[in-house]
């Protein structure tokens, strides 16, 4: 999918640039962009390493596992049919890592959870309810502290770099609730349809 979006985005811009005669500007923007990407990553590296170090400590000392256990009732609510505790703990770990801003650990757990869900789904071509719920809810989950955003704000001399933390948390929790509601509604619609088919 990324394949089409990425190349599509590029080609559409290219053709528009050709039509408007802004091809030279387009060309130099492309060359500059790779340079700016490198500069950006260099600025980002320190904070990334620090956070990743703290996450490693939290993970290896069992702090994340403990919090995951605390959240067990919540996940039972989201995945009522899910009996497999290892799948559930992968799901919770992914949520937790996400909240703590460790996007990559979250992805690792998420992929493990998806593999297990796929096996439960007998590798069918159609996604299971639990897969949809998990993917959508994990997407809506956001880091408690958006570190990169705060860093950018600090760099640009904001008076209150942390002032966006609370609104971001509220936004994320509301979209988590909304995504759960939509998911459950669509599940119900699908199962009603199945039911009618059987009759």
């Amino acid at each position: 999918m990324m394949n089409y979006i990425w190349s599509g985005l590029f080609l559409v811009s290219f053709f528009y640039a050709v039509c408007r005669g802004s091809l030279p500007a387009f060309g130099s923007a492309i060359v500059e962009s790779s340079q700016s990407a490198v500069t950006f990553v260099i600025g980002l590296t320190g904070i990334m390493a620090m956070w990743s170090g703290l996450m490693e400590v939290a993970e290896r000392t069992g702090l994340i596992r403990g919090l995951a256990r605390l959240l067990m009732p919540f996940t039972r609510l989201l995945f009522p049919g899910q009996k497999d505790s290892e799948t559930l703990s992968c799901i919770i770990m992914s949520f937790m890592a996400n909240i703590f801003g460790a996007g990559n650990s979250s992805t690792v757990f998420a992929l493990r959870a998806m593999e297990r869900l796929d096996a439960q789904n007998n590798h069918a071509s159609s996604a299971s309810n639990d897969m949809c719920t998990f993917a959508v809810v994990n997407m809506a989950f956001a880091p408690l502290v958006p570190v990169v955003t705060i860093q950018i704000r600090e760099d640009l001399g904001s008076d209150a770099p942390y002032s966006i933390v609370l609104p971001a948390i509220i936004t994320a929790s509301m979209s988590v609730l909304i995504s759960i509601a939509i998911c459950k509604l669509m599940e119900r619609r699908d199962s009603a349809r199945e039911h009618r088919k059987l009759l």
């Binding site: 811009s13 962009s33 949809c132 704000r153 002032s163 509220i170």
Partner: protein, 177 residues
């Protein structure tokens, strides 16, 4: 203490308090926290390098898009709608791009903040948007890549709806907090 200060204090305390809790908990369990930290930091460095090619790709597409003049054209199409909801025009590229790329949107946030200032309404809304909305298309592509699933069923629609809701909420909430 007024509410604004209160929230500011809570928000500012998050990172240091979290770091302190993590380290204190580790020490209580007699874990070699320093070694763990160094190991994790190494992984963080590796991650920074890992995302670089991805970033270059995204930056390429996004910068090309901006330089081509297509965004102002799109803006002219969408302007009545944005104006109706009193949405600052600088936020449009971010609203479109956030669904595709996390790292790319950070670059955009930086550009937006440089233009409008980090403490302006548009600047704060941009930050909340990146903090509270996820990269729907990227995540779906990645997650389902390890399965045999070809029909996503409601995952795509739900993801997009939640994403749009997140954008709307962030635009509203920044007016109050």
């Amino acid at each position: 203490m007024n509410t604004e200060n209160f929230f500011e204090t809570i928000s500012a305390a998050f990172v240091p308090v979290m770091a302190a809790v993590i380290l204190a908990y580790g020490l209580l369990r007699a874990a070699p926290v320093y070694d763990y930290f160094i190991e994790g930091a190494k992984k963080g460095l590796a991650t920074a390098i890992e995302i670089l090619p991805f970033l270059i790709g995204i930056y390429l597409a996004v910068n090309g898009l901006t330089a081509s003049g297509l965004i102002p054209f799109l803006y002219r199409l969408l302007a009545p709608l944005l104006d109706f909801f009193e949405v600052p025009s600088q936020l449009l590229p971010l609203m479109l791009l956030r669904a595709v790329s996390g790292s790319g949107s950070f670059l955009l946030v930086r550009d937006i903040l440089e233009e409008v200032g980090p403490d302006s309404y548009a600047g704060r809304a941009a930050c909340v948007m990146t903090g509270g909305c996820e990269t729907v298309i990227y995540v779906l592509a990645l997650y389902f890549s390890v399965t045999r699933v070809t029909r996503l069923r409601h995952a795509f629609v739900c993801g997009m709806l939640a994403y749009l809701a997140g954008i709307a909420i962030s635009l509203v909430i920044v007016r109050f907090i």
